[in-house]
Amino acid sequence: MTSSASVTLPSYPQPDARGRFGRFGGRYVPETLIPALDELEAAYLAAKADPAFLQELDRLLREFVGRPSALYLAQRLTEHAGGAKIYLKREDQNYTGAHKINNCLAQALLAKRMGKRRVIAETGAGQHGVASATAAALLGLECIVYMGREDIRRQALNVFRMRLLGAEVREVTSGTQTLKDATNEAIRDWVTNVRDTFYILGSVVGPHPYPAMVRDFQSVIGEETKVQLQALEGRPAPDAIVACVGGGSNAIGIFAPYAYLPEDQRPRLIGTEAAGEGVDSGRHAASVAGGRVGVLHGSMMYLLNDSEGQIVPPHSVSAGLDYPGIGPEHCHYSETGVAEYVPITDAQALEALQLLTRLEGIIPALESAHAIYHAVQLARELGPEGVIVVNLSGRGDKDVAEVMRLLELEQPQGQRGEVRA
């Protein structure tokens, strides 16, 4: 974690040379982008082998982002759950409030190294947009962020932040006017301006090499966890790791350093998907539990799509999980049993958000609250000998207004203040 000549990024056995994790992943994009993806892949591999790049990234992660983030024993939550110890990997402590900044800084550095002066990004809740705008400001790059009209309405403060940081926020009015369509627009911009533009993709989705590259940039989370847990518990791996998945970048960041260990050294890896109003309701964003294999945004993955291949709009209380697909590496983990994926509803997430806030004084992002809910259930199942690490992917500031609205709808009669867990 400290600066030294031996700073590296991890190398994993997946994907294969064609960008496939098993049958998932690949490059389903217009031919116009293929040379750019080849160029990106080559530039990334060169940067990954260049000590100067790695040391600059390491320096920024420490001095600008504030890494390492703490691995914090949630004592009162542990007592409440009455079972395994629950540790929180505090990505909410990062500058800009979530894990997104790890990847954005790295990609922006790469953009600069490639001589690209213009970066584009897509955003739903705004976390990736703010992180991209921040990295662009720091490195002096022109930044354009695509955001759906509906999300612009819901996340006005983040829109202002991006503009204050000097980014241009472009409103997307096509399709569902949310993250899915913002991503389409970002890809269209890239197809059009590919010669001088770098696309900072926000999750472990998209065409190869993005899922692998974003994973590598986020795996600092899991690598730190190994070292920190060794110091705290005398072993690098807990019994289980729980993380929320939309596209899946925070989850892959903490899973990947463990996922390729031999089975007997590997903790249970559990991704919590947004089940919205329930997987059977049709109003959810649970791509593993409720989707089928398909192709979106350049990659083969589990996808919410109907019997004729039209994308079904997702729903989640948490804008950051509100995506109809899930990264190809997660799909492969699911299919091969390396990780499990469990659906958590809006109501359960909201309950867990209040629980963590009251017991630990930490207001988590609604995304992360999905993981907290499951960790409490799992702690009971594992018993007092167990150790769980939850990736607390981000803080809840961005969600406070929405949570206030939902709780007032839910508890109109002065019952606010009770913890229901």
Binding site: P30, T32, I34, I187, R292, E308, G309
Partner: protein, 266 residues
């Protein structure tokens, strides 16, 4: 691949050959199936088929990331009206009953995977489709789709772009069995202000070194003048968004098609 041409490939090549013999580039209009409505589509298609050497019919798709706003909005409208993969194939079957002109389907890969590649090819062949254009499928991504298409008598068309390296041009050109589709500009579909066809001749020269099929150019061709520029160097001219704009604005699509078709004369 040249040894055994599929039925679709033969019909497509013959259409290009007929146009060539008349001193023209083949005129290939595009229309989104079910646009402006499922009921209104056949009349629009008929008007285009009066002039067309081939007709390109798009399966409306919710996330057409290679298309610009014109085709995307047309797709949204067609989907809202209930047109999807199977309905598109029904519309094509209806056209096939009335016209002998080759019909090619433009589709993103997800609708093919959702129906199942084998089932999709069977349904397409049954409907009388001659070929497929696959804008988000570089040929090295999925070798099964081209094989299944061939098994069902269909030709496939892949795309090259101004950014394509010589290696990519070779790979794509060799994979095409219908015609090769050269994208004229770095960008998505759509009629544009001005013309930016500067990169086309060099790209086509490279493509012709490897292609065993006719080479057509599309994206940004919007009127007789741009069609004439393209026809000077290509075997075929694809025009899409301009016709959708015409339908939306209530213009005479047949008249516009006739004018652009005249622009395709060498």
């Amino acid at each position: 691949m040249t040894a055994t041409l599929t039925r679709g490939a033969e019909r497509i090549h013959a259409a290009f050959a007929r146009a060539g013999a008349e001193g023209r580039a083949a005129f290939i209009p595009f229309m989104t199936a079910g646009y402006p409505t499922a009921e209104g589509f056949p009349a629009v298609a008929d008007a285009l088929l009066e002039q067309a050497d081939l007709l390109e019919v798009g399966i409306p798709y919710s996330d057409p990331l290679g298309d610009g706003p014109t085709i995307q909005r047309a797709s949204e409208q067609a989907l809202a009206g209930g047109t999807s993969t199977r309905r598109t194939l029904a519309l094509v079957r209806d056209l096939r009953a009335r016209h002998d002109t080759p019909l090619v389907i433009m589709t993103y890969v997800n609708p093919i995977y959702a129906v199942g590649p084998r089932e999709f090819m069977r349904l397409a062949a049954e409907a009388g489709v001659d070929g497929l254009i696959l804008p988000d499928l570089p040929p090295d991504q999925d070798l099964e789709i081209a094989d299944l298409a061939a098994e069902h008598g269909l030709a496939v068309t892949f795309l090259i772009a101004p950014t394509s390296t010589p290696e990519r041009v070779k790979l794509v050109a060799e994979a095409c069995t219908g015609f090769l589709y050269a994208v004229s500009v770095t960008g998505v579909t759509g009629a544009r202000e001005g013309t930016a066809l500067a990169e086309v001749p060099a790209m086509l020269a490279l493509a012709r070194e490897h292609a065993r099929v006719p080479v057509a150019v599309g994206f940004g061709v919007k009127d007789a003048a741009t069609a004439r520029q393209v026809a000077a160097v290509a075997d075929g001219v694809v025009v899409g968004s301009a016709f959708i704009n015409a339908v939306r604005e209530g213009q005479d699509v047949g008249a516009l098609a006739a004018e652009i078709a005249r622009g395709c004369r060498k």
